[in-house]
């Protein structure tokens, strides 16, 4: 299978050349194949969120090259990167990033708007996605009326509404009870079986165990790559 994510000696340096210079990523190289379920594990401040932003085409590396689905992201302008995200990537952010003035249903439906799905269909598909994550009765609630776990499920439903080829999830089980967390991880495994590439970012090795492969990041270095047997 072709690599869908191809990182070649990626570095990300903040405030380069000043006393406050921070090297968030240092010469990171990795390849993730289509249909893999990969966990990126590291303590906070290790650079894993920076790596996720670069993989998600939200950020650009200071040096090195990144090819997403065979396209060199360095060659893309802001609009083309937005198109890549729109058509290939679903995000579950650590802070959920639900829009506070919109209902759960409208939040889930938002990505459909940007790919031109008509309104009636948007609502119908969003309602089904909410039902799937067990929030059918919360559809008209705003995020501030939902618990952390419910908000996280809304965020997951939103990330999956377009069935993106790549799912990037940052601590997607952080706000969930262990039972619901297990269900979500089982969902990710099923998505992988259905052909999605799932990239999970976590500090929890137990969560990372669900992945086929774990990349460990420490102080901006990708220090270890371990694979499950048989994967």
């Amino acid at each position: 299978m072709s690599p869908v994510i191809e990182l070649n000696t990626i570095s990300k340096v903040y405030a380069a050349g000043t006393a406050a210079e921070v090297v968030a990523l240092d010469q990171v190289s990795a390849r993730i194949l289509r249909g893999e379920f990969v966990a990126i594990v590291g303590p906070s401040g290790s650079g894993k969120s920076t790596l996720m932003n670069i993989i998600g085409c939200l950020d650009t590396p200071s040096s090195g090259s990144y090819r997403c689905s065979g396209v060199d992201v360095a060659d893309l302008d802001a609009s083309a990167r937005a198109e890549l995200r729109r058509t290939q990537i679903g995000f579950v952010f650590q802070g959920f990033h639900l829009l506070p003035r919109m209902t759960a249903l409208e939040n889930v439906a938002l990505p459909l708007t940007y790919v031109g799905v008509p309104k009636a269909q948007r609502r119908e598909r969003a309602a089904r996605a909410l039902q799937a994550v067990g929030l059918a009765d919360r559809a008209e609630h705003r995020p501030n009326e939902l618990s952390g776990g419910q908000q996280q499920r809304v965020a997951i439903a939103r990330a999956l509404i377009n069935r993106p080829a790549i799912l990037l999830a940052d601590e997607p089980t952080g706000a969930l009870d262990s039972h619901t967390g297990e269900e979500i991880l089982a969902l990710f495994e099923q998505l992988r079986i259905a052909g999605h590439t799932v990239i999970l970012i976590t500090h929890d090795p137990a969560v990372a165990d669900h992945a086929d492969r774990t990349l460990q990041i420490h102080d901006g270095h990708l220090v270890e790559v371990e694979s499950k047997e048989g994967a």
């Binding site: 932003n53 729109r86 058509t87 952010f93 790919v115 799937a132 993106p164 259905a194 999605h196």
Partner: protein
Amino acid sequence: MSRLEALIGAPTEASALSGRATLFDILGMAIYALRGNWMRSTLTALGVIIGIAAVIIMVSVGQGTQARLDETMARLGSNRIEVMPNFGQSRGVRMGAESSFSLTTRDAQAIRQRIPGATYVSGMIRGGTQVIAAEQNWSTQWNGVEADYFIVNDWKLARGDTFSDADYRGAATHAIIGETVREKLFGDSDPVGTMIRVGRVPFTVIGEVAPKGESGWGGDMDDVIFVPLETARRRLMGQLEMPPGTLMRITVGTSTADDLPEVESALNDLLRELHKIEPGGEDDFRVRNLTELVGARTETTRLMSMLLAAVATISLIVGGIGIMNIMLVSVTERIREIGLRMAIGATPGDIQKQFLAEAMLISLGGGVIGIAIGVGGAMLASRYGSLPIELNLQVILLATGFAVATGLFFGYYPAQKAARLDPIEALRQ
């Protein structure tokens, strides 16, 4: 959480997600955002509301006044010069009574003979009196005129006949009445052939002139009776002690407006000569050209329009800056929303359009409210300020265009700022 399977399916091909948010969707998002903060949106639109209301009132009153002036010009007859005695003060002393009687039939005759451009000349005297017909009486104005008077002033007959030469020469007690007088004395019945008394003198009504309506100065032009000049002199002037041959006014008509300046200057020279006024001495008559009079009114209207235009421009600029200010605040407040929208695939162009749409909708909404207020204001001005107005679709479209343009112009910079945000920075807030 038992139905998670519904979320599972083969990944969607990128090509199947190639659709884009339609302009309609983006407008929908903008409306959604504005509704969530409707109080702020309304207050932001206030400047535009005032500006557009001013535009509407300005244009409708301006056009209405112009139309009224054109109409008045047509009604009064535009190729017309009026000569009147000068009642002005001279060397601080009110001039003697004889100065009020400075115009005479001799002057009118001389004008007829010696000024070729003066195609029509009519002397006139007038006064006020009671007119009585049967049981009805009415207080009105009588005008003693000559034949040219009707031509120069564009009076047309509605009924009956005009005065014959014999009427003028023989000082016949014939009268032609205006519509208002006919209504007051006869109601809707035909007055021709009826006897009326003007003051104490009996007259026969031989005609009625077609109505002219209100004069440009608010008077009722149809509240009038015409009689031959000689008749007026002999039968109605008794109570006014005036020297024989005196005229209160000489109306001169030219064939074309181009002749007016030449005739006007010839009139001045001729009358100074006839009245033996030394060079440098003050005229005992005044020559008034109607075009100048209307011109003065046009000038007033123009000044008023300019003032309103200034108010409208300033309001629109202030309103536009208000919109820009609030949109900048809004961009800062919603920076996470912008970051999230970008993360899920909104292009900078989509973000720009959304914020432009919001600014445009604020000012368009303000424009619509402004149009309503402006139309209402113009109607009130016409009703209680007796200002003529003319409202038409062009004015409303123009105002709408101004509103939209204000929103787009002043919304551009905030929208650009939103579109240029780095999604990472925006999400980090």
